[in-house]
């Protein structure tokens, strides 16, 4: 059973809209977890910031492969 409404960029609040549009653009479509998470702009923005920060993790491990 679905426990929460999924939102679209049109129905998301102003605080979640920018992140929503950026995520949709980079992935190519809006997936359900993202549309549900946008119910809490605070959580949505915190989560996407965390993902953004950790995309740089372990990058240095790739260096030997290219050396």
């Amino acid at each position: 059973m679905i426990r929460i409404a999924v939102l679209s960029p049109e129905t998301a609040s102003a605080a979640a809209k920018f992140t929503f549009v950026v995520c949709t653009k980079s992935i190519g479509f809006a997936f359900d977890v993202m549309m549900a998470c946008a119910n809490s702009p605070l959580t949505f923005n915190a989560w996407t910031t965390l993902i953004g920060s950790l995309t740089r993790a372990l990058l240095t491990l790739d260096i030997p492969h290219f050396a």
Partner: protein
């Protein structure tokens, strides 16, 4: 036995320094956990940004109570010392509420529902029942608040896991270890 040496100030990576300095200023000293965590500016700054964002969620008493409940379930004794200290001095939680929070409860009925839900989320790794969700909503929380509770559980689990893995030397006032209350 601790598995990681806290950094000396001169060895702190430049990218971690502003964040570490800010924590030192707020707390009044540099906790061993942070001096260790600072070795990875990426992980340290990512966690600090998450902590900053979620400090706007719910209220300080509920956040700290969730931190205590999650740390008890995850068996993180370092975090229990930190959250017991912040719960007393920053959230101004009475001693009996600090113990109740570790058991997944609160004296305040609304906060009690949030802490109970948080405990279920960490115990069940998110696989809660419809009734669990309905109970926290019935207590007066919105779906957005429920998401914030889940996010807080994840954030506190991050530091629980970090401290369980590296076991920094305890530098906050001692408390009863996890599982003993």
């Amino acid at each position: 036995m601790t598995r990681i040496a806290p950094l000396n100030p001169e060895n702190v990576p430049a990218a971690s320094k502003p964040t570490l300095d800010a924590f030192t200023k707020t707390i009044g000293f540099t906790p061993n956990m942070m001096a260790a965590f600072a070795q990875s500016p990426i992980a340290f700054n990512a966690w600090a940004a998450l902590l900053g964002s979620l400090s706007k969620a719910l209220d300080v008493k509920t956040r700290d109570s969730i931190g205590l409940a999650v740390s008890e379930v995850n068996g993180c004794n370092y975090c229990l010392t930190v959250h017991s200290f912040t719960a007393e001095h920053m959230a101004k939680l009475p001693a009996d509420d600090i113990l109740l929070a570790r058991k997944g409860h609160a004296n305040d009925p609304k906060r009690d529902a949030a802490v109970q839900f948080a405990r279920k989320v960490i115990e069940a790794r998110g696989h809660v029942s419809d009734a669990d969700v309905e109970a926290v909503i019935a207590a007066g929380y919105t779906h957005a608040n429920v998401m914030e509770i889940v996010a807080l559980v994840a954030m506190y689990s991050l530091t629980n896991f970090f401290n369980n893995v590296f076991d920094p030397e305890k530098d906050f006032p001692a408390v009863a270890p996890a599982g003993s209350i």
